[in-house]
Symmetry: C2
Subunit: 346 residues, 2 copies
DNA sequence: AATTTCAAAGCAAGCGTTTGCACACATTCT
DNA sequence: AGAATGTGTGCAAACGCTTGCTTTGAAATT
């Protein structure tokens, strides 16, 4: 027989309400009673039933995590598992549990969110990507349900968000490339409706203008996704019109595709930069200069923000910016050598 | 105001119990009533409260997932995210939710399990690794709580499990290497208390003996973990005594370490095989022959088994074997070339 | 015509907590 | 001494659903 609050109450000669108040350390209960009740709880091995508690308080202490439509490349990317870890660790340390679901498309995502909300499993929801006109966000806003998004939201309202300073991250990349001698730098991004793509593009444009280089729309391309094949195709299209001396991309996998496209036409002296500091970028040939976006911190920040919100903590801010780290490797050392060996002297 | 089962009842002129029975499609309710009630539910947008339901049924429809102590290398390994995906997809398709937690050590794991069970958040638990004398398993058995483990359990009792046929997987690898000409084959495994290590070792021994090669304990080593550095150190130790012509490992990362150790002493003609078919193995130099263990299938199988169990489905078996696929690449093509180019003619 | 059988639906007691309000008693103030 | 505070607990009504047992009325059986 499972032991309940009434067992504890009977056993320590008080009412169930008193036991409940002891559990919550209510100041109206005398220290004497508290310690007596606590001793009984200990002895009986009492543990509150989360469901009953949730029902009574109408709040669960769970957060829902929506993983984006899993085009395969999203899962070879350690970004997500790292973000999940950040979320998990932060949530655990504050007594929250995480429920997750995998979806195949935006419809399914909305379906899961709907289910989480309506069945009252969770107190808040974490979205792991930010898109323009995101239907998940629209739904959550309509329902006025607490949520946080990793990435800058499309609309500037009270939405909680956590993101890198993508503008500055790219700004630094562009400066590095200019310092390395680039005069005609291309930009190959993911889909244009992701805020991360748009932010990085504007960092690119700003930096060019500040350094006195002309922006050229012929040097800017957007892929259909964040995949290697998408990056390759985009680069190939771009190459029919222009011959850049460096390429800034918004993801390592896009960068791999770009490098592929370049090498295929014999261009092995073009600098390429990726984002997300993937493992493959560290081992492939050439090793890839990349921006580490600190996914675990992004996740932890998101969880923290959301928990602050649902616990109505005072003075909680509505966003958080996570630092990035630019990691320079061979792909910007001056020459893309097929052999992958570092250019001597760089 | 949130709408409840009584609202639906009132609105369609029946009792709450009837509505509940309609929701569960109880045959004792007439079709006429069912359709009337369903129409009302639709119109009102009724959605059952999962907490209340769980409290009444004392079951939640949630499963708990315990991710192993996160030594970093476990997370660069796509095995886990893939397994999670398999679990998630299977669970979702059967109306179950997944809660997960990250732990840093076995104590924490047991703590999370205890919490899941005692607070009654979940109906069953999935363990993602199987160790000898695992305290999690011991605890779960003591509590008689339903769980499933990925990997063969240490004790042969009624424990649910799903695993590859590690014995045969290694058996095939050994045969391949012998066919390629190996006569002195080493085995470098992970920690000996993981059942996966022990199973693969016995496959190795069997295959050797069947093919008429002598087993040599000097050719067998176990690393402290599944990491690159561990693999390297183990191989280095082994090399002080022996000079094998091929190495079977139990993980790609161990294999990377092994290759490193070999190349450092100038041995570039030794065949090496890994497990888990990691991305890095596909791109590094040389590309690595590896066994794909189908992590998503392992995860899905685990979820399926556990759900069958907690729903007391008839005829549910207690384990499931998932096929592996041996993927041959350059590292067994005869010579480990530093350039990573395929040996011509192989 | 009286009795049995059966289908369909309702009653009410849980499931285990939380919490506003009431209550009893002991202090302190006029 | 009577009134006003304060302090520590208990009562009982939620929270929203499930389910064993009953009831009701009609059809089938003797």
């Amino acid at each position: 027989m499972r032991i309940t609050i009434t067992d504890v109450a009977r056993e320590s000669g008080v009412s169930a309400s008193t036991v409940s108040r002891v559990v919550h350390d209510n100041p109206r209960i005398s220290d004497e009673t508290k310690s007596r009740v606590r001793e009984t709880m200990e002895r009986l091995g009492y543990f509150p039933n989360a469901l009953a508690r949730g029902l009574a308080k109408s709040s669960t202490g769970n957060l829902g995590l929506i993983l984006p439509n899993s085009s395969e490349n999203l899962f070879v990317n350690p970004f997500f598992i790292e973000a999940m870890r950040g979320i998990g660790v932060e949530a655990q340390s504050r007594g929250y549990n995480i429920m997750f679901s995998f979806s195949n498309n935006e419809d399914e995502e909305v379906g899961f969110i709907r289910n989480y909300i309506k069945s009252r499993w969770v107190d808040g929801i974490i979205l792991l990507t930010s898109r323009k006109n995101d239907r998940c966000m629209a739904y959550l806003r309509k329902k006025e349900f607490p949520f946080v998004v990793v990435g800058r939201p499309d609309k500037a309202d009270s939405t909680l968000w956590v993101d890198n300073d993508n503008f500055h991250a790219v700004y630094d990349v562009v400066n590095l490339l200019i310092d390395r001698g680039s005069r005609s730098m291309a930009f190959v991004g993911g889909p244009e409706d992701f805020s991360v793509t748009r932010d990085r593009l504007s960092g690119y444009k700003q930096a060019l203008s500040i350094r006195g280089l002309k922006e050229d729309s012929g040097l800017i391309g957007f892929g259909p996704d964040f995949s290697e094949s998408g990056g390759k195709a985009t680069m190939q299209a771009l190459l029919t019109e222009r011959r850049p001396d460096a390429v800034v991309t918004t993801d390592d996998y896009i960068a791999f595709g770009v490098i592929d496209a370049l090498l295929e036409v014999g261009l092995d002296d073009i600098a390429v930069v990726g984002f997300n500091n993937t493992l493959r970028g560290r081992y492939q040939t050439p090793t890839l200069t990349s921006v580490d976006v600190n996914p675990a911190e992004l996740g932890a920040g998101a969880a923290a923000l959301l928990i602050d919100k649902v616990t109505r903590r005072e003075g909680a801010s509505d966003h958080r910016i996570i630092d990035t780290v630019l990691i320079e490797r061979d792909s910007t050392s001056g020459i893309l050598l097929k052999s992958g060996r570092k250019k001597p002297g760089e």
